[in-house]
């Protein structure tokens, strides 16, 4: 039994370490948390194996055999030494893990030198994320976007707020999440270490569109980050572009803003069910009305849908030229 237990524990631990539990390790914090998780598994597997091995061994070895129907087991009522052992050992184990966790916590929350840290605002609203780059980051005007772009190897401190209910800003690949609580601004910091595009997820139930409240974060080189910042201040559509180019640009905006998460639109191939089906409700509607529907969604609501569900921030996150393009596209697609 002891041999079987040791072998099973060893296999269990090897398996536990071989499996990549976390999506990708994309930040310094993720690495520490992931290591802590591995240590926990190394501590847990033998305990589980111990319990199961003894139960299985007992059930096999001490099963009732023919002729034993009237026989009772020995009248053992307990054993004080055993009780002490299995109280003290877990207590020591737990104390050790607790200390280790505390060290990891201190490590994660440690602030870098203030000048090097980016400060970015994260704002949740049913059912979209917007990100604000303050003047000190952009070097020009404050910038609000729906896509989060971060330079690699630089600490970022997020300030998380919400316009309505509780949301939760989570990037699984950073292994960090924090609630956006009405009336409060909450903070956490990460240092992305790996280039790539990762999902941003809302982890706290926030209503009908909770599952489509997704965005993405792109981790790029510092040079590319600066180029991206500069691009944001130039219009998405060239001045005086033809109608076809406008529609094409609008189609891209429809996709990148995640409109299809909530709305069905045949031309874009989207099937969202949170908001009205655009193929139906926008048919024959003029440009001014479409524009109002985007910028001020609660002004007039399609029958059967509630107020306050669609974000009211598109007037700020989209530039005028982007809005023009989006309106042109929607007009064309629902003609």
């Amino acid at each position: 039994m002891v041999v079987a237990g040791v072998i099973a524990s060893a296999i269990g631990i090897v398996l536990a370490l071989a499996i990549e539990w976390f999506p990708t390790v994309a930040a310094t914090q993720t690495k520490k948390i992931s290591t802590l998780y591995d240590v926990l598994l190394i501590a847990s597997v033998p305990i589980f194996v111990l319990v199961v091995t003894v139960v299985v061994a007992a059930v096999i070895r001490f099963r009732m055999r023919p002729g034993q129907e009237d026989q009772d087991g020995p009248p053992i009522h307990g054993n004080t030494r055993l009780e002490v052992i299995w109280t003290v050992l877990p207590a020591l184990l737990i104390l050790g893990l607790c200390t280790y966790s505390y060290i990891v916590l201190e490590d994660i929350e440690k602030a870098p030198a203030a000048a090097q840290e980016l400060r970015i605002g994260v704002h949740g609203e049913q059912f979209a994320w917007t990100f604000t780059y303050p003047e000190e980051v952009t070097g020009g005007e404050e910038l609000t976007t729906t896509e989060l772009v971060l330079p690699v190897d630089r600490s970022v401190r997020f300030s998380i707020t919400t316009a309505d209910v509780i949301h939760d800003f989570w990037v699984p690949d950073f292994a960090m999440k924090l609630d956006a609580v009405p009336g409060l601004t909450t903070h956490y910091r990460v240092t992305p270490t790996r280039l790539g595009t990762y999902p941003v997820v809302c982890a706290e139930l926030c209503g009908l569109g909770h599952s489509v409240m997704r965005s993405r974060v792109r981790v790029v080189e510092q040079a590319e980050f600066e180029r991206w910042l500069a691009e944001q201040s130039t219009p998405a559509v060239e001045e005086g572009a033809g109608p076809d180019e406008q529609v094409a640009a609008g189609k891209q905006i429809f996709a990148s803003e995640g409109c299809g998460g909530c709305h069905t639109l045949a031309d874009a191939g989207s099937g969202g069910q949170i908001g009205p089906n655009l193929d139906d409700v926008l048919k024959g509607v003029d440009e001014a009305k479409i524009r109002e529907d985007i910028v001020d969604p609660d002004a007039q609501i399609a029958a059967g849908y509630g107020a306050g569900i669609m974000p009211s921030t598109y007037g700020q996150t989209l530039s005028d030229s982007e809005l023009d393009a989006l309106v042109a596209y929607l007009k064309e697609a629902t003609k």
């Binding site: 059930v59 020995p74 209910v165 997704r214």
Partner: protein, 569 residues
Amino acid sequence: MAADTATSPALEPVPQITAHEVTRERSGIIDWLTTTDHKKIGILYLVTTFVFFLIGGVEALMMRLQLGTAENTLLDPSTFNALFTMHGTTMIFLFVVPIMAGFGNYFVPLMIGARDMAFPRLNALSYWLLLSGGVVFYASLFFSPPEAGWTMYTPLSNETFSEGGGVDAWIFLVHLTGLSSLVGAVNFYVTIANMRAPGMGWGRLPLFVWTILVYAILLILALPVIAGAVTLLLTDRHFGTHFYDPTEGGSPLLWQHLFWFFGHPEVYIMVLPAFGIISEVLPVFARKPIFGYKAIAASSVVIAFLGLLVWAHHMFTTPSPTVVLVFFMMSSFLIGIPTGIKIFNWVATLWRGTIEFKTPLIFAAGFISQFTIGGITGIIVAIFPVDWQLHDTYFVVAHFHYTLMGGAVFAVFAGIYYWFPKITGRMMNEKLGMWSFALMYIGFNLTFLIQHTIGLDGMPRRVYEYPDVGNLVLYNRISTIGAFVLGLGILLTVINILRSVKRGPVAGPDPWKANTLEWFSTSPPPDNNFDVIPRVRSVEPMKDIRRQIAYQTGTGSEAPPAAESLVRG
């Protein structure tokens, strides 16, 4: 002997029920509607809560069907949100908590040698309050079921974001079932404190009764808090108060603190009686006394105490100072110790026994393995740096299903198979029981083991659809298939119950050769439970009685029990 009775208060007879008038026996339905007999009320509890269990199970299967594939459009988001809200509420308020009260109602008086509960009419009131809570809640199906999750976090649950009466129906459910549980808890406490058989000191109280006692105390401590919290929510919604509104000086975090101050003890309210059932079943089928009686009884009390101090680990993703995080991590860790003590003692009970392979034992063994996983993942989510990744994901869903489904529900099934002969007088079918266990065990682990990975891969809870990335579709499909296997396993037990009630072999008073006093009575027990209440000499009065009978009739070779029972207890 007479002098002995006069000097020792323990030997005075328990209060006897005297009939003041002879009432005509009522028939059929009227009898069930007006009964104050703890056994009939117990059956009403068990049947009602099991029906709610099946309803909650169907809700779970509908959700798993929706999540069987990515970007599924089978259910709309509104229906899905209503489903998980009703599933969670049903399983907690209408199934696990009250079914423990059902077992308690039926068996506490029998196990302690009493003729009924202390307050039979209050007992009936408890049941009818529970039923009305369930009816009020499910009536919301006909207007607008609540969609804000069983935790009803504000502001999502306030009037602005949750119009219609669904949330109000939920509030009244909490009020009604809360009152039901409070009345029941006081009743249990008084019954256990005052109506034990002569000789049954605290050191000889059956372990299931110990857990029901702790369950009652926890209910009395935790329920008033949630009753106050939902009342504030009600006035916020309809009468212009702003307890949870930050724009007017309130705080949404206040709700979370109040809710979880109740919510975490609630976890132990659900799982402690399950521990009690396991502590009764294991020694009977291992044919060996429970290992470490005092340690098991004391650990229940320690768990209950610590359980009142850990609530904020449900709030690790809300802004909290580091020292608060550390406190709640420590306290959550500490619960692992008494829980571990219980598990080790159960395992030691099996060791060197003569283990009889019957369905209750198999369910109890399944409970141990699954609850150990639930306990270990509980430690993992209690470590906040790790919890920042795991919180609000499917990992948490998997964790609490391992404690509540793999733990409490498997214990409930062990209890059903163990006590069914006592309640109905008939045995359940062993073969069908084994099949039911096998399917439930495989189905349960298929459904929930993989959900740990789903959560680690980045899938949050309470989403009605998910994108097709990585292996999410494969994992979710495995989980969905498992859920249906689990459902089939449960269905087999339902069939087994329905068949055995009428056609099972007659059980006799003590088919398992058990340890506690309920087996001293006939199956099912008569109205007054016992004609003679025996004097209790140890934790295992029935073993003493069997030995005494064997000794007096000369059928056994063992010595009379007196010598041993005098040294113990």
